[in-house]
């Protein structure tokens, strides 16, 4: 293995940060967070199948400060990953590679993911 001269990727600590690299690594991280949110959904259903008392306990945890923080974080991660995923699909079709376009679409995704998270949460909790 020591004589393998293939380039290694990606070197996060070495490259200068750009919107493109920031979104690239955030896409990966949010994907991994989404995996955890699927696992949360798994426990949600397990708690539900364990009967009323266990489910009430689960709801207590979910509605605590930390629980809400996690759920909001997971929501943002999901929305970000989907929006960024759409950007990737557009790239796969061969559009949007110009540096200016890519930067603009990156900024649009960051802002709209935050706004959508707030709207999603307010609607879901019945606050608006």
């Amino acid at each position: 293995m020591t004589d393998n001269q293939n380039p290694l990727s990606p070197h996060l600590q070495i490259y200068r940060w750009h919107i493109s690299s920031l979104l690239s690594i955030t896409h990966r991280i949010s994907g991994i967070i989404n995996l955890f949110s699927l696992i949360l959904l798994f426990f949600w259903l397990v708690a539900l199948s364990l009967g009323e008392n266990n489910y009430e306990l689960f709801l207590l945890v979910i509605n605590s400060f930390i629980g809400k923080f996690i759920l909001i974080g997971f929501t943002w991660s999901m929305i970000f990953h989907i929006l960024s995923g759409i950007r990737h699909l557009v790239w796969d079709m061969g559009y949007g590679f110009e540096i200016k376009t890519a930067n603009i679409s990156g900024i649009v995704i960051i802002t709209s993911s935050l706004i959508l998270t707030v709207i999603f949460w307010l609607l879901g909790r019945g606050l608006i």
Binding site: L35, L41, R125
Partner: protein
């Protein structure tokens, strides 16, 4: 599975997942304010059951491909990478199957 097919399946699973994830997440947030009876009533809906099971199978399929790609980038020891890939594969099959069993027998 050859790489091109894997690439295409990864994109197809993404397109299936986006609306499902959106919908399930919205339901979860609204469920977090509701009690046990309402939640049971909600999950008893066959449309929700089927979509949730699809979400788990397709979601873990998508996750398995992505995770393997991340392993490819960051794990440079082939043996460790192989073991990690096998563990990811087992994990990505066991959880959806448990969910399927839960829906059939428990909820």
């Amino acid at each position: 599975m050859n790489e091109t097919r894997q690439w295409i399946l990864h994109r197809i699973s993404a397109i299936i997942l986006a609306p499902l994830f959106f919908w399930v997440y919205f339901s979860l947030i609204s469920l977090s304010k509701k009690n046990y009876q309402e939640a049971i009533y909600f999950f008893k809906n066959p449309v929700f059951e089927i979509f949730t099971v699809i979400l788990f199978f397709v979601g873990f399929f998508h996750a398995k491909i992505s995770i393997s790609e991340i392993f490819e980038d960051y794990i440079h020891n082939k043996k460790i990478k192989d073991v990690a890939n096998i563990l990811a594969l087992i994990f990505s099959m066991v959880i959806p199957v448990i969910i399927l069993i839960l829906f059939i027998y428990k909820i």
